[in-house]
Amino acid sequence: MNDSTEVGHNAAGPEAVNPEAAAAVPPGSGPAAAATAPILALDAVSVSFGAVRALRSVSLALAPGSVHALAGENGAGKSTLVKVLAGVLRPDGGRVLVDGEPTVFHGPADARGAGIAVIYQEPTVFPHLSIAENIYMGRQPRASLRGLGLGRIDRTKVRRWTADLFARLGVALDPDQPARGLSIADQQMVEIAKALSFDARVLIMDEPTAALTPAEVDRLFAVARALKAQGAAILFISHRLDEIFDLCDTVTTLRDGGWIATEPVAGLGADDLVRRMVGRDLDSLYPKQDAQIGEVALDVRRLTREGVFTDVSFQVRRGEIVALAGLVGAGRTEVARAVFGIDRWDAGSVQVDGRTLRPGSPSAAMSAGLALVPEDRRAQGLVMMHSIERNSTLTGVRGLTRGGLVSRAAERSRAADWAARLELKYGRLSDAVATLSGGNQQKVVLGKWLSTAPKVLIVDEPTRGIDVGTKAQVHRLLSQLAADGVAVLMISSDLPEVLGMADRILVMHEGRLAAELPREGTTEEAVLAAATGARAASEPAAGRGPAGVAR
């Protein structure tokens, strides 16, 4: 109901295109090149949010029968570009061309009318409606007028078409089931099915694979290739570079809202692509420093929460990074929540610096020097509509008060300090956190907790959905913290990250600690074997329960 906030920056409007830009027609628009003339193109498009210029004169052409990748770090402007193509945002400058004709999308419906289907990064489902309705909302097939249907929805057809889509995607979902309660991956499959149901000429996929299993990614790619063979133009965004090399023909790289390069994927190396994205060579993604390992900072003993995790014991020492690996659902996040006092536990104890924590009290955990950076930063880590400064100082409000009131000046200077240390990309500190990119939001969450000067830092999937550049920054930060004597417990599903960053690796399987592995000599296969419950013969430490855990 508030489209106005989305188009509010649209002072100039797309009509205000200068004549030079209009003359710069994208390549291949002449009659000779008709076969490859782009279906959808952007010509020198710019978008600003307040002081942040999210896109600066970016051009892009999507040709039929081709998969075009969009690469760039978080905050490079990829999602903004998608919103322009989807008709959600109107550019401040530049033009959108459909079949070479300048077109103004007044809303998502216009873009859809032009044959553009979009799979958004964050699934947008109707939780109370059935999966089939989610897919066909607003476009449900109607009974024929002759059959006295009088334009009502043909439910049988809705259901059958949905089932057909799922069969194409190889997904086992009941079309009549409501969408609420679906996992993110299933919601993503619903979004993909929705996009397919358009028979679109242009399919835009904004990180569709982030939550999918390899088998589902394979099926999605098979469908994408089939669409490509039918002459659709596809725009594909992913942080997994191997997917770009696997699926795409052309890649356009954005950096800081500007266009860097458009080139064929063939002959391009991953190193080249990363260099274009980051703008510099990465020294290393995993800059693990050697830290002085000190005394025990976090001591978890026989922690049990019935039906969730059982008999979990481990220690984290000062200066140490301990990874907690395991399959999703193994109970890692639940252990972290219990240690931090969000959930109660049924048995066991948690000590920080030798002091036993009161169970179920996050404020006790915080005052003992514990900090938790949660997995879902949007839901648990940030107040999205509040300003950056307000968010980054939420945890440290006590140190900022003058006579019981929060001092705005102190709040601002502390936030500015952290923003500089974390290399945060932002317009003004008073901007809402929701305006930041995912990687920068994660930095705000980190800053918020680091400003409490924790003795023990628990990070849950610190780099999920974050681009390589920010990832390396986060890793460097964690490593620096450990070197400064902080005990770090890092929950991660990213095996190279686990192996690259951790001093020790704890592996959970079905609510129990299944193994403890050293940094040296451990392979991804060994971690996977422990996580899936298969006892790896070559790993003597792999055992169930506390017996396998070093004291």
Partner: protein
């Protein structure tokens, strides 16, 4: 550099290694669970209703006489109509607090026209149009003015009540000045079933069918379920929200005209406080204030249940001061049940979801 480039290719993230079997048949249990709960709510209201009426009949044998049933249905019909309109608004995750005032002023408008000798059809149409007009203003303010529905319609409640007081003043219109045919219609019926109840049921079924089986009808649910997703799906949110309010206003206007037929009495206080009874009926009937859930059938059943309780109390010689307390209690029970059931259903669905960890 090599470690960087190698990373994506060789990162079998643990989360992803939970293999999925290739497309097994879909599990239909979750759907059946949800469908069962949807029906269970309406079934529960019916059971409570029947038990209530039977218990009262055992205590007071005249209660379920043909006249008793008729009175019950007559009272319920008006509440039902307003509740159906309210349900449409609530399904879009909005609310209309002005329906009581709109009913009052429409009732007076219809009665005034009838007393002046106007054609009853024109009087009813005028009441509906007047209600729809107030609904239009509500809808425009809510959807274009970006003002929360609670505030807009609370303001409209007082504005309309004020206009009503200025217009009506100390006047009252009673059966003497109303055409006998109109009030006869208000009490007449097919056997024990009054015409008013037939109108209410017809309106409920028509609206229920429209909401369930038409594209535009489903969009009301989509908007209430997730407005952002609705916008991305290209649904015209403003148009639908305005339509919902016009609809609620028109039904409140119709209810006002029928109120005149039923009670043959209107003054400046008619319909005062009615909005709260209406919202109770809607919520008790299973339409969630958080939008996207429930049906007008549920709202109609909720209206029937609340009316029955209010009729039963005098029959059981319970003081009518208990009426409001019991309505309020029922409302709280309904909301509590909704919360618990919604939580249980969501977690039950989660457990069945193949990916969830």
């Amino acid at each position: 550099m090599s470690s960087t480039s190698a990373t994506p290719r060789t990162s079998p993230t643990l989360a992803a290694s939970e293999g999925t079997a290739p497309a097994p048949a879909a599990d239909t249990a979750p759907r059946r669970l949800v469908a069962f709960i949807g029906r269970a709510r309406q079934a529960a209201i019916l059971v409570v209703l029947v038990l209530l009426l039977l218990a009262t009949e055992l205590d007071n044998h005249r209660f379920l006489s043909s006249q008793g049933i008729k009175d019950l249905l007559l009272d319920a019909a008006i509440l039902m109509l307003v509740a159906v309109g309210q349900a449409v608004v609530v399904i879009t995750r909005n609310v209309d607090l002005s329906v009581g005032s709109v009913l009052g002023i429409s009732a007076f408008a219809a009665a005034d026209l009838l007393a002046g000798g106007a054609n009853p059809v024109w009087a009813v149409a005028a009441a509906i149009l007047l209600g729809a007009g107030f609904g239009l203003v509500n809808g425009l303010l809510v959807s274009f003015g970006q003002v929360p529905a609670l505030v807009v319609t609370l303001g409209m409640l007082y504005v309309v009540r004020g206009l009503d007081s200025i217009w009506v003043g100390p006047r009252e219109i009673t059966s003497q000045s109303l055409p006998a045919g109109y009030t006869d219609f208000g009490h007449g019926g097919l056997g024990p079933i009054p015409y008013l109840a037939l109108i209410a049921v017809a309106a409920t079924v028509a609206v229920g069918y429209y909401l369930a089986r038409y594209r535009s009808g489903r969009e009301f649910y989509a908007i209430g379920s997730n407005a952002q997703a609705a916008r991305l799906a290209g649904i015209g949110l403003r148009k639908r929200v305005v339509a919902a309010y016009i609809f609620a206003g028109a039904l409140a206007g119709l209810a006002g005209a029928l109120y005149v037929a039923r009670f043959a009495y209107v003054d400046a206080t008619t319909g005062g406080g009615y909005e709260l009874t209406v919202i109770s009926a809607v919520v008790v009937g299973g339409v969630a204030m958080t939008g996207g859930v429930g049906s007008v059938y549920g709202a109609a059943l909720g209206a029937l249940l609340l009316t029955s309780i209010n009729s039963v109390l005098p029959a059981l010689n319970v003081s009518s001061v208990w009426e409001e307390a019991i309505d309020g209690f029922l409302l709280l029970v309904a909301i509590a049940v909704d919360r618990i059931v919604a939580g249980r259903v969501t977690s039950a669905l989660r457990e069945r979801s193949p990916h969830h960890g």
